[in-house]
Amino acid sequence: MTAELLFSVANPVALLGWIGLAAAPLAPRAVDKLAGWVLPGGLSLAYAVLMLVHFADAPGGFRTLADVQALFTDVDVALAGWIHFLAFDLFIGAWIVRDSQRQGIAHWMVLPILPFAFLLGPAGLLAYMGLRLIRRRGTAQNRQATP
């Protein structure tokens, strides 16, 4: 019951951060604080507490893939794992937006990448890394603008 409740709270918390990131040009500093510090920090705290309370009694472990699967049969550890995704994905999303601002990459170019980072974490990160590579090779003007 507690796990279901926490799950239903954690999702909108992360979503709030992603909405903020999408609208980042409106208030870059506030969004960075929220999506890069406060929300991932809060989610990480929830993760840490869940692991402190439930990890010791959970089945499985990290040694084999079967162990990891067994570990996630525990509802509280599965919840912690989900919150781990939410926290780290959001943190990466905030890094993408922050980095793109520093590199002078237009927000509209980052915007289509954000849903990937939100829903498919590493795929979004990969897409942004690709964008960065292209931009660095392509625009000499951009390189001069950033020290």
């Binding site: 870059p28 500093r29 604080k33 507490v49 869940l50 402190l52 309370v53 010791a56 520093r102």
Partner: protein, 276 residues
């Protein structure tokens, strides 16, 4: 500097520079702050966890240690502001306090780890874990030694601007904390458990958890460790006395009295009688 980096610096500045005692001694002050912040983990864990150890929520013990250590280090941070400039900044002191930071972190990881696995941090029957427990005893002595070191520094600081009875009470209070805690906690750890006798009904003092049926050595440990609060309060009160000789005498008498009370509760527990 970018806006983001600048803002992060400003936040750090507020914590590091505007909290005055922290500026006087960053290591002790930050350690106190870290103990308070770590409650963000253990208090929610306490609320979520339904596992018990020796009849109490597994997280009660880490929480007690976090509160006690936060209070201890915060007090020492404030006291350190009354020492001469150089004392806290000397290389020897820095090295010593760094060792204290390591010992404190190790201690809290050990106690919280034991809570996480719902096992005993003190008196653990498993040999390996018992060996760690013994090492933690050495760390605990190191933590307590901070009060001895500061106490000695107050004792030596003859040119202090502090009123004489108050300086004396700080020196005696801090040194008494070390000596009495070593006696109480040392005995506590050498015995098989904190109870002397076998509780039947399990009646305890609220929150503190001291037995109301049998001897409980944690009472004298608690009093011993709070000598650094009680005796300076006696010193503040003694400042009202004239002549100064009488004020100093009052501090000595007050210290002796508090030490006697602590040793009385110690003997009381050893003989198997409850505190109240």
């Amino acid at each position: 500097m970018t806006d983001v980096a600048k803002e992060q610096c400003e936040t750090a500045d507020i914590i590091t520079y505007y909290v005055v005692p922290l500026r006087a001694d960053p290591i002790l002050g930050q350690l106190a702050l870290a103990m308070v912040l770590s409650l963000l983990l253990t208090v929610p864990a306490f609320l979520l966890d339904d596992r018990l150890f020796n009849g109490a929520n597994v997280w009660l013990k880490p929480i007690k240690f976090q509160i006690a250590l936060a209070l201890y280090f915060a007090t020492l941070t404030v006291y350190a502001t009354w020492l001469p400039e150089g004392v806290m900044r000397s290389t020897k002191m820095r090295v010593f306090l760094t060792a204290v930071v390591v010992a404190t972190i190790a201690e809290m990881l050990w106690i919280s780890g034991a809570a996480m696995f719902a096992t005993a941090s003190h008196y653990n029957p498993v040999p390996l874990l018992y060996a760690i427990y013994a090492a933690m005893g050495a760390f605990a002595v190191l933590l307590t030694a901070v009060s001895l070191v500061l106490g000695m520094a107050f004792w030596r600081d003859r040119g202090s601007a502090l009123p004489a009875p108050f300086r004396l009470s700080l020196a005696l209070g801090l040194i008494a904390t070390f000596v009495l805690t070593l006696i109480a906690a040392g005995t506590l750890s050498a015995l098989p458990g904190h109870h002397v006798g076998t509780p039947v009904t399990g009646a305890t003092v609220p929150f503190m958890g001291w037995s109301r049926e049998v001897g409980d050595l944690r009472v004298s440990h608690f009093l011993a460790t709070h000598a650094l609060h009680v005796i300076p309060v006696i010193g503040l009160a003694a400042m009202a006395l004239r002549p100064p000789r009488l004020a100093r005498l009052a501090v000595w008498v007050g210290t002796a009295g508090f030490a006697a009370l602590t040793l009385f509760t110690f003997a009381q527990a050893l003989s198997g009688r409850p505190f109240i």
